[in-house]
């Protein structure tokens, strides 16, 4: 029964091997990669994080959605991809009244929808009416609140949309009246939540305020941006192609963009190495070092408009004392944390607002000062950490958050001699605990929606939905809600924000830890991708070329 004595079995074995060899061989001849093919045909392959929940600009939330929607649609203004200053979009110019309360937008006459219909001011009025219908479940409705009566209409205090400060003066003129001077108003108009939608298409698939109709599906969607939707295979890819009806069509150089939902950063990095992607949404932290060591120009790290911080539950008895909260903040060695633990170029944060947010620099009132921290703890009745109750740091399950929490646990033990317990929870459980105030100290992060300090500071007003710390300060609220909006120049407004931020840092309901960085791998053939703190690409300016710059 020996195999050697059975030549037939041998023959069968080699026949199978030969078959496998023949089948696999054609695939072994190093076929052209996505990147090589894409460079020839003008198709950009883009790693896009998670699967977009929706492509309806009035329902979507999230960065992957933003990437696709900003290729498909366009609002009144665009942003310069380097300076982030507003540039003409569907509005070719605009006038701002002297009191900064009335914005008159002059729309371009050649703006069209992807089906050839003309896009005019009435489209914006209808779209903004739709975005303010509570039944639609638009989480970004607050982007409209600077507009006169928009908040009142949304809350149901007024029922007639005509009272809301937006009207079409004629087909090509849109007038917007504001509640208060809002110097960042133009910034909001580049956010997808203020983009127009095609009324006829939306209503063909359901009522205007119905959530989740099929108007955004392939074959149905009508949009107004440089690209239009060609294919959407869930969890596989979204393909957008050049929109021939786009007013600036001649400037659009890419023929197609393929967005891949890749949740696993390691898979995404491997796909980049194998030439399947031009761009990755992120770079795994362990790989950053490797790319750095190799001095690989594909690795791009830039400051990002977001702050990683710890919320302190000020309702917990021993954390009510601001001196304790300050002592905790003063004993985090942020330089060491970013350099030795995070290693991704993150910037130590000593205030909530990232530095140079539209030219705003927050006050520098926080530092690493263990001696002062010890003094504050002693004053609070916890000399050398004695009698300080064991305190919990809550974070959502993630290796990166764990590393930061472990480091901070050690720093507080060394400098304050206090015991910290680490608790990790699955994402939704963690959200539940945080919003119910069922935590002591919890990890948090805030990514800016628009480039203005207001976006980072107005969440800590009394009872604010994103405050969640139980902290409330009337002086702070007055500065943010009343004084800052009345200032007409950024300089004066920023002075008020600095004053508010000083209160925040002094009271310390939150401990800023670091400013995020965006980390991407970018293939050398992808040109015109300018770095900016929103990490937003202007897809109509991108092009692919093998030329070395």
């Amino acid at each position: 029964m020996d195999i050697k004595s059975n030549p037939q079995i041998y023959r069968l074995f080699f026949l199978i091997l030969h078959g496998i060899y023949l089948c696999v061989l054609p695939g072994c001849e190093n076929p052209p990669t996505n990147v090589e093919l894409g460079n020839e045909t003008g198709v950009l392959h883009w790693g896009n994080g998670t699967e977009p929940q929706s492509l309806d600009p009035h329902i979507a939330t999230g960065v992957p959605e933003h990437h696709v929607i900003s290729a498909l649609m366009e609002g009144l203004v665009l942003k310069d991809s380097q300076t982030l200053e507003p540039t003409p979009g569907i509005a070719e110019r605009w006038d701002i009244s002297e009191d900064q309360l009335v914005y008159t937008f002059h729309l371009r006459s050649d703006a069209k929808w992807s089906n050839g219909d003309t896009l005019d001011a009435h489209d914006f009025v209808w779209s903004w009416w739709r975005a303010l219908q509570p039944r639609l479940g638009n989480l970004y409705a607050y982007m409209y609140f600077p507009i006169k009566n928009a908040r009142a209409y949304y809350n149901g205090d007024i029922n007639d949309f005509k009272e809301v400060g937006v009207k079409a003066v004629n087909d090509l003129t849109l007038q917007v009246m504001l509640e208060n001077p809002t110097p960042y108003f133009l910034q909001l108009l580049d956010h997808y939540s203020t983009f127009p939608v095609h009324q006829e298409t939306v209503e063909r698939f359901g009522s205007a305020d119905e959530r989740g109709t099929r108007w955004t599906y392939e074959g149905n969607m009508v949009s107004n941006g440089p690209f239009k939707l060609r294919k959407w295979t869930i969890n596989q890819e979204i393909v957008v192609e050049k929109n021939p009806q786009y007013y600036d069509e001649k400037k659009v150089k890419l023929n197609e963009i393929v967005y891949y939902p890749i949740e696993n950063g390691i898979t995404e990095e491997r796909m980049f190495r194998a030439g399947q992607l031009h761009y990755t949404n992120d770079v795994p932290i362990d790989k950053v070092e490797t790319y750095r060591a190799a001095n690989d120009p594909a690795l791009r790290i830039h400051p990002y408009l977001g702050t990683y911080y710890y919320r302190i539950n000020t309702r917990v008895p021993h954390l009510k004392d601001r001196r304790v909260r300050r002592a905790l903040a003063l004993t985090i060695d942020r330089e060491s944390l970013t350099k030795n633990i995070l290693k991704g170029g993150q910037i130590p944060a000593y205030a909530m607002t990232p530095p140079d947010t539209k030219g705003y620099f927050p006050p520098n009132k926080l530092e690493f000062n263990p001696l002062e921290a010890k003094r504050l703890m002693a004053l609070s009745g916890y000399p050398d950490g004695k009698n300080f109750p064991e305190t919990e740091i809550l974070y959502n399950t993630n290796e990166g958050h764990r590393k930061v929490a472990v480091a901070i646990q050690q720093m507080w033990k060394i400098h304050l001699n206090i015991d910290i317990r680490l608790t990790n929870q699955e994402w939704k459980v963690y959200l539940d605990s945080e919003s119910n105030g069922d935590y002591e100290i919890s990890r948090a992060g805030w990514i800016g929606d628009y480039v203005d300090p207001n976006n980072f500071l107005d969440m800590f007003i009394c009872g604010g939905g994103n405050n969640r710390t139980g902290w409330c300060n009337e002086d702070y609220d007055k500065l943010i809600l009343q004084e800052a909006p009345r200032k007409k120049s950024d300089q004066n407004r920023f002075a008020i924000f600095r004053e508010a931020e000083e209160i925040l840092i002094d009271e310390m309901p939150v401990i800023p830890i670091y400013t995020y960085t965006s980390k991407n791998l970018v293939h050398s053939s992808l040109k015109n991708l300018n770095p900016n703190i929103l990490n937003q690409a202007s897809y109509k300016d991108l092009f692919l070329s093998d030329d070395i710059e």
């Binding site: 195999i3 059975n6 696999v24 039944r135 479940g137 959530r211 969890n235 696993n264 194998a274």
Partner: protein, 312 residues
């Protein structure tokens, strides 16, 4: 055999009912809801959303509402992907998972049978130890280790095969199928070896050999039919396991299969999606167990007689 199949099918009804009830209770007891988000959700929006998906109703009403919809064949809308139905999402993702499971099964059976037969032909020799040691390594090596290893060797260093995707590049199904199939190949090898050792020592095999039949006919025609019964019993649960357990492989290779949907649904608290996929997988497991039992009965006369005896 028909009676056997009918009884088993009837038994499946309370099983599925139990699955629905337990899953429903578990998902609604988990903290966090489908609409909790990092950014605060305004109360007006939350009310509107809960109304839309009937989450404002008492739990028992939601349960009976779901049962009613389920019986009429409606799995409900997905909470996570507005506008998409659960049945539509399952229908779009399942063929991919099924295809992956099918190719993995071919890999598993091909490698497993060959290694098992080779090992059984000369027990307790190098020819036995070598494939069985490899099989042990195969069983022990998790797919999250094997997958990246294969990617590294065949995708990145040798550049022979694509390392991700499904149906987008030629050859992109090879590595996922090998990754998912290898673990099962190892089990099949061990089961085949055991089954074959048992059969090859039977008298009728000795008779066949005495008649001068070639070894290949003895092994393939007379040996395999009896020797494969334990393997066939394993194939049903194995195929169901491949369908339900492909999440890791789907993630490594970025494959748009049902496994990814299933796990994402749990993280997103997409209640209807969790229920829909759980019921779907439960039904699959019940079906494949039944098919493998019927196949085993067809191959094993002893079982057939027992069933006939029961019928009498």
């Amino acid at each position: 055999m028909i009676r056997f199949a009918a009884v088993r099918l009837l038994q499946a009804i309370p099983v599925l009912f139990g699955v629905i009830t337990i899953t429903f209770i578990l998902i609604h007891s988990a903290p966090g809801g489908p609409f909790s988000a990092d950014k605060a959700v305004p109360p007006e929006v939350l009310i509107a959303l809960e109304e839309k998906y009937d989450l404002n109703l008492p739990l028992w009403q939601q349960y009976f509402g779901y049962l009613e919809d389920f019986i009429s064949g409606d799995f409900g809308p997905s909470f996570k992907y507005p506008g998409r139905n659960v049945s539509e999402l399952i229908a779009s993702a399942f063929p991919t998972t099924a295809e992956l499971a099918l190719y993995s099964m071919i890999v598993a059976i091909g490698i497993g049978l060959f290694a098992g037969v080779v090992a059984a032909m000369r027990p307790n020799s190098v020819q036995d130890y070598a494939p069985m040691s490899l099989a042990m390594i195969g069983i022990c090596m998790p797919s999250f280790l094997l997958g990246p290893l294969l990617v590294l060797i065949f995708g990145i260093y040798l550049e022979w095969l694509p390392i991700s995707g499904w149906n987008s590049l030629p050859g992109d199904k090879i590595l996922p199928a090998i990754t998912l199939g290898t673990g099962y190949a190892a089990y099949i090898a061990r089961l085949t070896r055991g089954g074959m050792l048992d059969i090859l020592s039977q008298d009728y095999i000795r008779t066949a050999r005495a008649k001068g039949l070639s070894e290949i006919v003895i092994v393939c025609k007379h040996g395999l039919r009896g020797g494969l019964i334990p393997v066939v019993a394993f194939l049903g649960p194995a195929f169901a396991g491949m369908l339900g357990g492909s999440f890791v492989v789907e993630t490594i290779f970025n494959i748009p299969g049902l496994g990814r949907f299933y796990v994402q649904a749990a993280f997103n608290r997409d209640y209807t999606m969790i229920l829909g996929t759980t019921i779907f997988f439960a039904a699959l497991i019940v079906s494949f167990n039944l098919i493998s039992d019927i196949l085993a009965m067809w191959m094993n006369p002893k079982l057939r007689q027992k069933d006939l005896g029961d019928e009498k």
